[in-house]
């Protein structure tokens, strides 16, 4: 069952990721990226990370990507114009990339040969309680710094938007 779900959602994630790169229209790319995020959320669930899976859907798919789609719609971004590249790049790029991917897979499998097995239900420490406890004890300082970061981001976004209004 684990193998089935992993294969299914890994396949979906890969297809959608390739689609993000290959689609010409930004909206198609954005929706494919939502597909990647959704399938990654399911994989997180398989890995026992309930809270992160839900946060993934809420933050990434529900807020960040909606923002992207909003901007694409606002700017009415059209299909990306195709620019001629050198024929060597076209000819060699794709095979080289596939070779790189193959090498990478081999590398990971070679250097992490005896990793454990992932079985649904093995690890149950990913609930809201555990995350909250760790967040407010061990990781308190990063957490507080994060809030400053968000404040900076808010102010930055407002300043940029203001400039646009003038």
């Amino acid at each position: 069952m684990d193998l089935f779900f992993f294969s299914l959602f890994a396949f979906i994630a890969l297809i959608c990721a390739v689609n993000v790169v290959l689609q010409k229209h930004p909206i198609s790319s954005a929706l494919s990226l939502v597909g990647v995020m959704g399938s990654l959320a399911v994989l997180y669930l398989l890995l026992g990370a309930e809270f992160v899976a839900m946060a993934q859907v809420i933050v990434y798919a529900g807020a960040v990507m909606v923002l992207f789609i909003f901007v694409i719609m606002l700017l009415n971004a059209g299909i990306e114009e195709h620019r001629g590249r050198s024929w060597i790049a076209k000819l060699l790029g794709f095979p080289a990339f596939v070779a790189l991917l193959g090498l990478l897979c081999w590398f990971v499998q070679r250097f992490f040969p005896n990793t454990g097995f992932v079985k649904f239900g093995d690890f149950t420490g990913g609930g809201a309680q555990e995350i909250g406890y760790a967040l407010f004890t061990e990781y308190l300082l990063p957490f507080e710094v994060t809030s400053v970061l968000i404040l900076i981001a808010i102010i930055g976004a407002i300043v940029l938007a203001r400039k646009e209004l003038d």
């Binding site: 809270f51 839900m54 789609i69």
Partner: protein
Amino acid sequence: MEFLVITLIKLALITFIFMTTLAYLQWVERKVIAHVQVRMGPSRVGPHGLLQPLADVIKLITKEGVLPPHVNAGYYLLAPFLAVFMALISISIIPFGTGIDIPAMTFGGKTFGPYHTMMELASVNMGVLMILAVSSMGVYGIALAGWSSNNKYALLGGLRSSAQMISYELPMSLAIASPLLMAGTLQLRGIADSQAGFYLGFVPKWAIFQMPAPQIFAFIIFMISAFAETNRIPFDLPEAENELVAGFHVEYSSMTFASFFMAEYANMVTVCSVGTLLFLGGWQPLWPAALGSNFVAPAIFLGAGLICLYHGLNPARPFDRYTLPVFAVVFFGLAGLMAFPPLVPVLTPLFWFLAKVGFLLFVFIWIRATLPRFRYDQLMSFAWKFLFPAALLNLLVTGFLVALVS
């Protein structure tokens, strides 16, 4: 195996009842608005227009689904599907009553049971977060519909809806977070169970009354955001008829058009159920059973039956003579069912839950009949300058009080 069979039965039941409810919500909405505005409402199809939803469904199915030539066909067809899917998925994790005990039965020598099952499809640890996640995905249907229609009004509707949904999700999440602090769990059933009991013997321990921090403001903020999240008046900017023709669904027809309405009503039911579970104590009664709260349901149905009977005997319209006594018999039957002792522990919680959800739905319809629409800049400044700080302050005070008590 047993689990699978029971779940399939529950699935079929819930789907059937939920779909019927969605269809009849339209009828209820039209009737209530009509009576608020001193009109009759639907009254031609069937007695009191009760067959109107059926007629509407048949009309919508048999109409030709037009695919305009200028749309982006793939996304145009995907959008309503996405909207409905996201709206329906969240109903599967909402608990709507306590457990049911099915006694052992013998069929042809084989004994089945006894079974014990909860009144919900799935019990999710992260129930509240999952509802938030699914509802935040619902915006894709609308935004995509607006974009793929290739129409300026639709595009404006889609833009407005995505900005509005993101903005109102924040106060909504913050308002949801404060009762969670008191319940100490993210499971919807656990939250409802944590609100059982009474203060002084008669004040219910619902989150809106619960000590140390009554969540009445959180409830109001939640309801206001819920109106915006479901695109209902006074926040129905994405589909404002007199500004944007019909907003994001202007190019849709037939069943694709109906899907958006179905999604809207499904979202309304979901959001009302979540409000009931988080703030109004789920299926906990308004006052203790010792003071007779178990007799409310039979009494209400009995009263409704008597009123129907009276008006049937003194008919205002000719056909009332035949229809209203039938309704009276139905209501008497329901009253009998509610008062039947073995069914009381099952049906009374269900009644309270449905009554609260029904009341919140009525508030939705009531406000639609009463309030005008916001202007867009007012909508945004209301969310960011009032609702969001208010929700934040409420969360802060709640957290402080909870920490102080524990």
